[in-house]
Assembly symmetry: none
Homo-oligomer: 214 residues x 4
């Protein structure tokens, strides 16, 4: 009995602690699918398996929920970004390939592409969010890629290219794909190149395009 009580208490406690994450997950799904304004909080709550009112026990209002969705959604990217910065060895080409593949693994097939989509869609209404994204994610990834490219050029592995441009060119195909994927989740999805082939073609073309040797 006592045991049971404790168990049940634990269950409740666990739910209470899990709720915010569950709600955020539900909200992410719907915000990405329908956009911020078109998402009804009742639906978010329902998808998380709770009632409207419960949502307000954890988030002050819709905007706070949105911000939290972004923040929580960005966290794994930041964490992984830190990891990418870790020790690496070998030539710049393998380094670059490694980074791209890690990034790809992170977003491909996951809902993570939803975050950029969300930010792009709502940047007009939430400039702070866009700003935060740029300053914390974009800039860091850019710096990382910039370093790799720079050293590749210095070592004579890569041609002398405009680094700023290449940084964008490395990321664009990855972002574009994941954004597209998220947008088309419900509707037409066909006609696109196979995921594996896609990323490897990207890397292949990129490295060949960058290579100094010919």
């Amino acid at each position: 009995m006592k045991n049971n009580d404790t168990n049940e208490h634990r269950v409740r406690q666990r739910r209470k602690e899990a709720r915010p994450a569950e709600l955020i997950a539900a909200a992410l799904d719907l915000f990405v699918e329908r956009g911020f304004a078109a998402t009804k909080l009742v639906d978010v709550a329902a998808r998380a398996g709770v009632s409207k009112g419960t949502l307000y026990l954890y988030f002050a209002d819709k905007e706070v929920l949105f911000l939290e969705v972004i923040k929580q959604g960005l966290m794994p990217v930041v964490v992984e970004g830190e990891a990418m910065l870790g020790p690496h060895s070998g030539d710049s080409a393998s380094l670059l390939r490694g980074l791209i593949l890690r990034w790809w693994t992170l977003v491909n097939g996951t809902k993570l592409g939803g975050i950029p989509k969300l930010i792009i869609s709502e940047a007009g209404n939430f400039p702070e969010v866009a700003q935060y994204f740029v300053e914390n994610i974009t800039r860091r990834v850019d710096a990382l890629l910039g370093k790799v490219l720079q050293s590749g050029i210095e070592k004579g592995e890569f041609r002398k290219v405009d680094i700023a441009s290449v940084i964008e060119l490395v990321g664009a195909p990855i972002l574009m794909r994941s954004i597209w994927e998220c947008s088309m989740a419900t509707s037409c999805r066909g006609g696109k190149a196979d995921s594996e082939r896609y990323i490897h073609t990207h890397i292949d073309l990129l490295l060949k395009g960058l290579s100094a040797g010919d």
Copy 2:
């Protein structure tokens, strides 16, 4: 007096005929900036210099306006797309370069990137729109690029690559840029590579990556 009346009538007539286009332009701006749901029709009307009621003389409701915005916004792309399909000569590389540059000229610095942004943002709520876009724009551009790549490979100019992937890789940087630009219109815009350098680096890297010769 009569004369004046006629003049006014003419002006009115002109305005009257221009109205739909003006309203669509205003709507495009706002839809792109704020999203479909967050855009108020009063604001659209105001931006077009007319009253709320007038809008309804030309568009049955908000959704029709949205569809019209997409349709009209896509038109130039389709037209230009047709032009791209016209007679072309020379090697596949120059052909590809030409196509990319034409595309770039079309979107760079214009509000045209707003259309893809809009479609991406609203695809979840308007699957027909997304479908229409894919079937009429994406597919056609893809077919065109596919032909060029195919012939380039056949002529031995390009390496044997996965054409479907490369098609996407050609477009992603162009789309990504224009979408991003539109999103950040109001907020932070800095930190990006110079536009001219960007597109030429893209072409440069791409062609080098594709080139069979080494």
Copy 3:
């Protein structure tokens, strides 16, 4: 036809101009009857013969409406207050009697007593309102009465009394009655002294109480 048009337009115009006042009147009634928080805006709108939405064409939100009700409700009092300050002659007693009777005429049987009731009820939630009332109404009336009492004392007509106290004592019975009347509007109303007798007994007692001669 044209004539008709103009007429109808006039009617519309007239309504548009009358609306705020109508809404304020309806709101005053209900705020006084039920209190601010317990009054539903739908009911206010309904009582004014319009729909919920219309209310928002004229007042930004419930609080603004409340403030406007107070402001408009106080205006006649202020105006009448100014009038009271006008030229007056005769002995202090008749002067005081005149002022009390004018004040009484203003509030007795009208909804004007609702304003003090409202302010008393909501002072806790709208301190600015209470402050405004004190500073603009109470203080002015107090000053006026103070002057009359002062001069009455100086002329030897009135006994030497504590003026500040008497000022309150002059007003309390008037305020109390009108507040009570408003509160009991719907429920029990019986058992109270006749209105005419009441005010004259007040004046009678007061003047006799003040009079220096005996």
Copy 4:
């Protein structure tokens, strides 16, 4: 341990028995300060140092709590009223003075004025409450005062005045003050006559006004 338990039990018991009163006190404060509708039960519970749920162990719902607040708040007045009715001697003037002073002592500086304020504010929504108040308090006090005045007149001490009116005139300044004081608790409080002077001026004026001799 056991001992401790017993102690805790006793404390608990004491608290348990005090709970309703504590909750009522907390509720009175808040109802007076903010009004019935604008008072949240969580806040009442919090002010009483218990949780929301506990409140429901003692009161069926918000309205019951309100009624209880009124009932409990009225009790001291009733009790004191009874006391006032007790044996009294001397002339009518001292009798009246005594009653007024006792009443004043009861309400001046205490939160007791809150009850009338509450009743006035909520009479529209709780006619039964108003009715109860009138029938049990007002009527009794009125009867008491009436008797004193009547006998004063009969004994030739007081002039022949309209008793019903005078009854109200005796109470109005006392009620008005205590109500005002409660309303302004949080906001502006200045500008009022000194409490002692106020009540004595009231008595002074009243008795002089009533006195038959001149």
